[in-house]
Subunit: 584 residues, 2 copies
């Protein structure tokens, strides 16, 4: 982009890049046309950190009786499907393509990674319908991907096996892929959740995940396609009695040994933390463990564990922490440095057919931030939020701008305050994952435990006495996390089991920290409610009303979290609050 | 019935009675024809304790996404409905009528007490379809009832209100009832769940339940119909923080003051315990509190909280305890004496389209026992089980008979041993109510709490320091339950909050009792499994296999109950097992 004398020239290598340049001008607004003193006419070069900035839709064609249509979707029904079919009218999908282009996202996987029987057929019988979706997105430079079932050769192809080393299976995938690209020449590739939570995979045939992924890569490579292969592989039928098995270790245990064996067209897609999109986790050690592999970082824009778009939670700061984290210490590369060049980014979408796209109007900021931070991971999350406010409320004067900042800037940490403390995770109602249930997962097969007893809480993941998860990290973190003296407070219970009376670096005890943060979290939500009321007259009535409704829900929920968590730990520890506040 | 010289004569007042007499002869088998020495030719008179022995089907026409078709049904789909319609082929319903007549049940409510929109229309548009069901049952003397929605005048009749004192509402019900009896002259009546768990009721109009029930009675009285009005009324959106509200008090609080105000055609239907069909509860105080009302006892044949027909649990002994309990002490009347003459009995059915009718083949014994014990509440539950064995396995030699007795005789107490201890109730997974979750309901709005902390457990329902629930009982129970010295162990935690170290009448502490019973319960299930294997060759393959599958499930579940409950209380109390067994 070159500016001179009130004129802006955008030059780009291709049409999509030109479009992104144009949206950059829109983003700058009048500022794009202001010549900058001392630097007139100089060209600005803009390029994304990664060429892979994917959004994964966990959309189903049918409505699941418990999950609804969009798995972990909190914004209405799918924009792609209705009543088991691709929608007849895809004009909203085209509008969505425009929205994505405006925030810098250029690839979309259009169906759930849990591929059910109906959706499996998108790969074959319903390919013309996928082509319609791709066509609707194409004007805005967004390419379609599909989630596929590893069992497809059996279930769709009628073969007796899906063994990745079987010649007929390989041929089936090659022919199937050829048909896909014949129908959709700019098709992006396949997303695969294999051997995970009941999805089929190579383990059934005694093969490993490199065998499985490479077999698919062989099929898509001739067409320039990609395989996004998820590392979310763990034993979801674990015995809760067994403290030696550690779900947090599983992805690294399964995948790190495979480094170097994956084909060039395979992207190994890694959730940002070792567990599952909790409000606070350490960064996944897998991200630093596969230097000879194209590794992608997977984020969750949809707020599964962070308030389900009932709660206003701006996730930009959380993602920014992950992107900037340096696995090898202060002098080493960041996570963004690791993933951006080859593997890129993926995230679970938060969009549905809701009139605000995202249920909570403010949850749009998360979609925007995902696009912007994966374009340029060095951006400041609060600055990105400011951009979103400007673009969303073009008339936003200082009061509205400040109000939305006041509601959102610290909202992620606020959510952390009133929910699961000190990196312990979970404590949500099983199944839907909304609202508190401290023991909800404690005696289940899901591998997510806190081990709270009357004396203490936390998971011992040290090498010295625990599951050894700390050893999956490179230095210095393997030692920082190992030692109680150096482990950061916010991850203490992720790595250590400690007495309630353990004194944090902050100077307070674990149990008093639990009490204090839960009281403070609720007060912060009250302040968010008040602040919204102040600025509500400055936004449209429907936005004001929806925001008001959701913030009221958030406050009630925060009070529930506070009272249940505090009461649970008071009943268990017997330690009273130093400030004498109420437990039940 | 008169026997003489190998000849049996059955004389009855009407056709249905003759049929019941005939089934009695079948039940006796050869013995019916053996003349009894010293008493030849003497007439035996048989008559049921009550003329009202109803089975309530919680069947829906549609399939509920979470609940399935039959709410709390564990035996397949509804025998009445398929795909939102009354089944075309009702031959199985006729077979069911025969089954019911054989066990002495003569009335069936054919739809769920939670009346959804589709099922509401059975009362009006779909009345001809109900008539088909009634016709299918009629040959066996079984009369049909319907569950109706209190909101029907609004939702079906288009009236602006369902106020029971509104003239138009009353007229609508009169006209509607007239059409029902015109279509089905031997129709039984209506079942109503009002102001309960979201169902509409008279409270919305500032009327009480006598107003509501009497308005309906006025409509059915001209036709000889009945209103079964359930007392299961409580606040299901209670604040768990509020220890002064006590769900166990609710039915008595609502209904006892209305005694004497209900019309003659109203049966007030009372669940056997104050909560909700738990494995162990005290008897509901409502049963002794309404001498001027026709009160029915409601039991639950379907095993909602007692193993969901995966577990072999013979409920006859539990019901027998309720029927024989004497609310006014040793010299007073029994529960059976109270309810049989005027109100009778109702129970939730355990039947579906499963090939064994009840999922678990042995769960048929519960249906049989319900019929027999409500015909004659003085029967011994084990004797009744013996009848069932004889009728179900006509060739049962001693080994099979003893084997099934060994599996079932103590199975209810076994289930109690490995699940919720000392009358505390619940501790099940919310929603589906299967399997352990000690804190599952602890912080919910449902009013079912145990208040366990690191020091003790139980609900203080005393008059001295608690909710005063003990005061709802007549003497001597109001005092027996009030005092720690006299409260029976098995109800201790229902009425009292005690330390884990409290010593039971049995001589052991509360926490050691929890540990001991949970270990013992599992060992008893192991013995059930072994015993079934011994007798399995003596029954048909399909019964043997189904029994084996279910007992394996029961054993796994019992182990889960044992380990979760014991570990929960060990973690909370810190008190080790006196015998050093394993916790986690």
């Amino acid at each position: 982009m070159r500016r001179s004398a009130g004129k802006v020239t955008v030059t780009a290598a291709d049409a999509t890049a030109l479009l992104h340049g144009w949206f950059h001008v829109v983003r700058l607004g009048d500022a794009a046309f202001a010549s900058r003193p001392g630097d007139p006419g100089t060209a600005e070069h803009h390029a994304p950190a990664s060429t892979l900035r994917v959004l994964d839709h966990w959309d189903n064609m049918d409505v699941h009786p418990a999950m609804g249509q969009v798995e972990r979707g909190y914004a209405g029904a799918s924009i792609f499907y209705d009543a088991g079919q691709v929608r007849t009218d895809l004009s909203r999908v085209t509008a969505y393509g425009r929205l994505l282009a405006a925030v810098g996202i250029d690839r979309v996987a259009v169906n759930n990674v849990n591929v059910h029987a109906r959706e499996a057929r998108l790969l074959t019988d319903d390919l013309p319908e996928v082509a319609r979706i791709a066509a609707a997105l194409r004007p805005y430079g967004v390419r379609a991907h599909l989630s596929v079932s590893f069992a497809a050769p059996r279930t769709l192809g009628g073969l007796p096996t899906s063994d990745p080393l079987d010649d007929d299976v390989r041929a089936w995938w090659r022919e199937t892929a050829a048909r896909v690209w014949e129908t959709i020449p700019d098709f992006g590739g396949f997303v695969v959740k294999a051997d995970s939570e009941g999805q089929p995979g190579p383990f059934a045939y005694g093969r490993d995940h490199a065998d499985g992924a490479n077999m698919l890569a062989e099929a898509v490579a001739p067409h320039g396609g990609l395989i996004h292969w998820r590392v979310f592989v763990y034993n979801h039928t674990q015995d809760w009695r067994d403290r030696s098995t550690d779900r947090a270790r599983a992805a690294h245990d399964h995948f790190a040994p495979l480094d170097g064996r994956f084909a060039d067209d395979v992207i190994v897609q890694v959730k940002h933390g070792p567990l599952d999109f909790q409000v606070r986790e350490p960064v996944s050690p897998v991200l630093a463990a596969m230097p000879r592999t194209r590794v992608a970082l997977e984020l969750q824009v949809t707020q599964e564990y962070t308030g389900q778009q009932q709660h206003a939670v701006y996730l930009g700061p959380a993602w920014s922490e992950v992107l900037r984290w340096r696995p090898w210490g202060d002098d080493g590369a960041t996570v963004a440095d690791v993933v951006a060049p080859a593997g890129g980014f993926a995230a679970v979408s938060n969009v549905g057919d809701d009139r605000f796209w995202t249920g909570h109007p403010l949850a749009q900021a998360n979609l925007y931030a995902y696009g912007r931070l994966t374009w340029d991971p060095t951006l400041d999350a609060t600055t990105v939020l400011d951009e979103w406010i400007t673009l969303t409320f073009p008339d936003a004067a200082g009061e509205l701008r400040e109000g939305i900042h006041a509601v959102l800037d610290e909202s992620w940490r606020t959510y952390e305050l009133y929910t699961a403390p000190l990196g312990i995770g979970f404590m949500v109602r099983p199944g839907h994952h909304y609202g508190p249930d401290v023991d909800g997962y404690e005696y289940t097969p899901w591998g997510t435990y806190h081990f709270a007893d009357r004396d203490g809480i936390g998971v011992d993941r040290t090498r010295a006495t625990g599951t050894g998860c700390t050893g999956q990290y490179p230095a210095p973190w393997r030692d920082v996390y190992e030692s109680l003296d150096t482990c950061p407070d916010e991850l203490l219970l992720f790595f250590h089991h400690v007495p309630y009376t353990h004194v944090l670096h902050s100077g307070t005890t674990v149990v008093q920290h639990i009490y204090d943060t839960h009281f403070e979290g609720v007060e912060r939500v009250r302040a968010m409610v008040d602040r919204w009321e102040q600025v509500a007259p400055l936004v449209s009535d429907d936005v004001a009303r929806r925001g008001r409704e959701r913030l009221a829900v958030q406050l009630r929920s925060a009070v529930e979290w506070r009272d249940q968590v505090n009461t649970y730990f008071f009943r268990k520890s017997g330690i009273p609050d130093q400030r004498g506040r109420t437990f039940y």
